[in-house]
């Protein structure tokens, strides 16, 4: 199982906001175990999807140099269920970024209907004894897979480009280096 809880970015505005979609399918095993005979996406995985949408936005803002972890969810409100066949649109906005961490606010919509609202706080781990949480090529692969560079804009309005730190992990022909952990 791969820990991707969004399918594609629709928008990625560096330092400001990001929008992504999550298509819910009956083929997802976990839907069948949440409530018997009532497959629906668990709220926790909606929050994870919003955290991935906003978390990558925070990571990109820091040029993928900060170790960004989900630290706190001050607010999570769900207004309806989302079931197989639904497409959720996750919209996240950066509320603040400080040395110690960052916060995003986010919404999930089913079409025009508000499905969920969240606030998520991320911490920046600054313990030098803590190694990298992800290899650069993992970020590069995620950002490419999710189409962030296809739709994204840098802070100056130009196209969003992978930062040099991530490109160093690229082997130059569009594939990423793999590590022993893969």
């Amino acid at each position: 199982m791969r820990w991707y809880w969004i399918d594609r970015f629709l928008e990625f505005e560096s330092g400001r906001s990001a929008k992504a979609i999550k298509n819910i399918s009956l083929a997802e095993d976990h839907l069948h175990d949440h409530f018997t005979n009532y497959p629906m996406i668990p709220g926790s995985l909606v929050i994870e999807g919003l955290a991935q949408t906003g978390g990558l936005l925070i990571c990109e803002h820091g040029h993928f140099e900060e170790k960004v972890i989900l630290a706190k969810i001050p607010k999570a409100r769900f207004h309806c269920d989302a079931v197989p066949g639904d497409t959720l649109t996750y919209t996240t906005n950066i509320e603040y970024v400080k040395d110690e961490g960052a916060m995003i606010s986010g919404t999930s919509h089913k079409g025009d209907q508000l499905h969920a609202e969240v606030e998520i706080v991320f911490a920046h781990l600054n313990d030098p004894r803590q190694g990298a949480l992800f290899d650069p090529h993992v970020f590069l692969r995620m950002m490419r897979l999710l189409g962030a560079f296809d739709v994204g804009h840098a802070a100056d309005g130009g196209p969003l480009l992978p930062p040099p730190r991530l490109l160093k992990a690229d082997d130059g022909d569009g594939r990423e280096h793999t590590s022993a952990k893969d």
Partner: protein, 130 residues
């Protein structure tokens, strides 16, 4: 220019939103850690909400000077030294340190800050009317 009551009300909203507590739990005497259950990550959240609500800047360590408590110059055998207490008084004029000074165990410091202290802290950063 807010009144003291308005400052308290805004702080109450910030703490309710950040800590998930009820309005009536946020009394002036309530301690942030002991009574309202704040943890270290909550201070980042609280500081942001205060900055936004009052349009002020709160540099790291100004409200909660954790750097003093991790500095061997100011802490010995788990207790804040006289020099450390002097530094705390200088950095936290808004807080009542009288009780803490009686037995300055670092571990107990987190439970020092009250809602009233936070009100005094904000009052020192904004112009108060009335």
């Amino acid at each position: 220019m807010p009144t003291k009551d308005e400052i308290f009300e805004k702080i109450q909203v910030a703490l309710v939103d950040a800590l998930g507590v009820e309005d009536d739990e946020v009394t002036p005497e309530a301690t942030l850690v002991g009574d309202l259950g704040a943890e270290s990550i909550d201070f980042l959240d609280i500081v942001f909400r205060l900055e936004k609500s009052f349009d002020i800047k709160i540099p790291r360590g100004e409200l909660f000077p954790e750097d003093i408590l991790t500095d061997s110059q100011y802490v010995h055998d788990g207790r804040v030294t006289e020099q450390g207490l002097a530094e705390l008084r200088k950095r936290m004029p808004f807080a009542n340190l009288d009780e803490f000074v009686q037995n300055p165990v670092v571990q107990d410091f987190g439970n020092l800050l009250t809602v009233a202290d936070m009100c005094r802290f904000v009052e020192s950063k904004v112009e108060v009317s009335g």
